[in-house]
């Protein structure tokens, strides 16, 4: 099987992305070289530049696509605040447990973005936080939640929920559904009136 000839743009492109994702998550953006990515894909370093303009674009596109998928994947249901919150919590855990490497990168590699790219990702993060805060504010106003500061509660809950990716292991003591349920139980009590 020839490896030096023929067109593979539609195959190699995604493979470059995947290799970068895996390596960035494991060793960190700054610690990974283009040569390592190329070796993982099975091409020479120079060939990577057919699929990305540079290393920074590789990181940025990974993070941007991740955040856009997170935002596109969940819309607040037309329901009371408590039900909206449960839906948000369960979706957040499910989504994050499904792509631990992207979650890790999206949080750890913010400081390796150029200022312009950072501003874009920061905006997307803000959009996501605002959705949770809107739920908390609605519940606060209708009296089902007692949250002294909705912004602080938003940050606290997102940190708590996202942290699940740091310890959860597939095939461990608890399955995903059980984890979802336990987290929801803690969140529900924490914000309850």
């Amino acid at each position: 099987m020839a490896r030096k000839q023929g067109s593979h743009a539609d195959i190699t492109g995604p493979k470059v992305r995947d290799a970068a994702l895996r390596l960035f998550a494991r060793h960190g953006f700054a610690a990974v070289s283009m040569r390592q990515i190329a070796a993982e894909v099975g091409v020479q370093a120079g060939a990577l530049y057919l699929y990305t303009s540079d290393k920074q674009a590789l990181l940025f596109e990974l993070m941007r696509d991740h955040m856009e998928e997170l935002l596109a994947d969940w819309q607040a249901p037309d329901a009371p605040p408590t039900d909206q919150l449960e839906d948000f919590v369960r979706h957040h855990i499910r989504f994050h447990l499904g792509r631990p490497e992207l979650v890790f990168i999206a949080y750890m590699e913010l400081r390796n973005l150029t200022p312009e790219n950072f501003a874009v990702i920061e905006g997307l993060r803000r959009d996501y936080e605002d959705r949770l805060e809107a739920i908390l504010r609605a519940g606060q106003q209708s009296g089902v939640f007692a949250v002294p500061d909705t912004k602080l509660a938003t940050m606290a809950l997102i940190a708590m929920l996202t942290g699940v990716t740091t310890w959860y292991r597939e095939g461990g003591r608890l399955n995903r559904a059980a984890v979802e349920g336990i987290y929801w139980d803690m969140v529900r009590k924490a914000v309850a009136a």
Copy 2:
């Protein structure tokens, strides 16, 4: 004032540590060069090796000292579980808000430790988690807490509390005492029976 002569080991040593702390926190361990650290201190790159055996030791000692200080700085008071938990929560927030750069490094740079160094830090982290879990178990047994899974609750609470360093800014809308109080309120409710 001569810069090339004289003994400054007791001054330059800590300055190297401080510069490494600041730069690692801002740009990440892998992205910082020994030359950058030397420039920040005001010496030549070669002179750094009088104060550290290598770059890895710089990172490891920063993290180890931080974790050991965290463990030395708090002992569970002889009190009911609810009071112990409040003491833990308030101390955790106070300690972490006091050294945001070390907290950041201790969490983000785990993967840049050699396997041997990683094992040491991981052990210290485990010791700290065990203290919180012991409180939750005691409260669970005496019936004042209702926690379906003490290990999961431990990880969830630590993630929530440590997350305070990602958004808290000195001189902002809330002062440290107010933040402590709000977090404690959420934790108290989240684990309450």
